[in-house]
Symmetry: C2
Subunit: 286 residues, 2 copies
């Protein structure tokens, strides 16, 4: 029997490994190393520069949590910008809202999208069937710099870690242009790393500090992402005016009748309640 | 440089590994294989039959969450029974409440306690300094069978998985004797496995089903335990009468002024809000 293991080092001395039944694809794009794998427990999964991105088994948790809390805060979101998210899972969840008129998705690496369309239809299947989705294969920072003022209700930053292609998406310049591109009730959600291992906690604190320089409302929420380092993962919620808990319109969201495997209205407020040590790390930078 | 790795298989094809700087101790007790290790990221940690139990880095999360939600529901708890918990971390957190009069701790394996006193004073340090703590090296099921009726306000089941020495602590017989031994406002908290990997989810559902046969109030709450399989871990809250959210006395709990690194009053209700798929797994058995 084939004995093949994919491993990610979460620190120099912490390693998470998955038995691979087939290495489906490997290529070096202009931006990064892309690999697709098959496994028994996680189904198909893919990595960028060796780091875990998406598995069939648990992508629903990540994609539910990056999308639905914003819509439960403002169910009238019409125009959405997704930065990154080449696997298509974020666009898939956004496209479930009938009120959404347009979804601009800006992914720097077209190869990620094309390979996910081939190997991960579970996440990428909507990308060429929903006419509201517009794909741009460009740099996210450059795109948002040129976006008209007050042109989006929601910006979702579905990025890799702040090294390599994702680096520009963790800068004050980027957050300021997001602010400018958002309407008065606009919301920014960003991939916000993790509080547990030191290297990730440092990036979490740096991102938080920068977003607080730019937006008046800045909150952090958490969820379980078992295939990411430590499984304790965060998103940032920033907005020009709306508070994610006080202004939430959960009844209106529930009336949409969306089936969601991870997110639910009861989890909305709960996900913004953080362990003491996480809150203290964030407060240290306030 | 020494290249030594401890690994736990979370499934047959999922492996979590920690670089070990020193294998501090290894012995076969009458009940299980006990090993203590030193590592850079987690500090000292120990395993039973090769499975991760406690690390210096994150034991605070587990011990906060097994103890404090019960006390925030009923801050007047006086008499406590701990089943298992040989590392002493649970007793340490209970002993922080000045109102507690007596802590009976029943650990089947004295060697776990003695070795934790030697290698893990961070968790075991209180065991011989707090006179309210009474140690019994006995089988937990046998102990609770002989306990007088209505003799405890709180029973904490800090057990291993339901294989090996922990098996009897996941039976209807055990839960029924816990019920009998609890006062009318009594609370039972138990280690409740995880919803993520199939084998653990099966044990989670079985335990839930059994406890529901016995107690009128049964709720599940979750927290982040990065060194346990998937990091998505649960405790069960069962009681004869008190509801953990509706009857919570958070202001009274806050007035005690305990510093807690993970638990806080804001997290209390939040931890009982479960992802949809977890709630559905539990409902299937109701």
């Amino acid at each position: 029997m084939l004995d093949l293991w994919y491993s990610e080092y979460h620190t120099e001395d912490v390693r998470f490994s998955i038995g691979v039944t087939r290495h489906l694809h490997s290529e070096q794009s202009p931006f990064q190393q892309i690999d697709f794998f098959q496994s028994d427990t996680f189904g198909t999964f893919f990595t960028l520069d060796g780091l875990m991105m998406v598995t069939e088994k648990d992508e629903f948790a990540y994609h539910d949590m990056i999308v639905h809390p914003a819509f439960a805060t403002n169910p009238d979101i019409r125009r959405v910008l997704i930065i990154g998210g080449g696997d298509g899972g974020t666009a898939r969840e956004v496209s479930r809202y009938p009120g959404v008129e347009s979804i601009d998705m800006v992914e720097i690496d077209e190869r990620v999208v094309r390979l996910c369309q081939q190997y991960l239809p579970q996440t990428a299947g909507q990308l060429d069937t929903d006419e509201r989705i517009h794909l741009y294969f460009e740099d996210g920072l450059a795109f948002v710099r040129q976006a008209p003022a007050e042109s989006y209700d929601l910006i979702l930053v579905d990025s890799t870690d702040p090294v390599g292609p994702g680096e520009g998406l963790f800068t004050v310049d980027f957050y300021e242009h997001c602010y400018r591109a958002l309407r008065p009730e606009g919301i920014l959600i960003n991939q916000h790393e993790s509080p547990y291992y030191e290297q990730y906690a440092r990036e979490m604190k740096r991102a938080h500090q920068k977003i607080r320089q730019t937006f008046p409302v800045v909150k952090i929420y958490e969820f379980h992402a078992p295939t990411y380092p430590s499984g304790h993962w965060l998103f940032g919620f920033a907005s020009k005016s709306l508070h994610p808990v006080k202004d939430a319109r959960l009844d209106q969201w529930k009336s949409l009748g969306l089936d969601t495997r991870y997110y639910n209205a009861g989890l909305h407020q709960a996900s913004f309640a953080l362990p003491t040590y996480v809150q203290q790390m964030l407060d240290d930078h306030e």
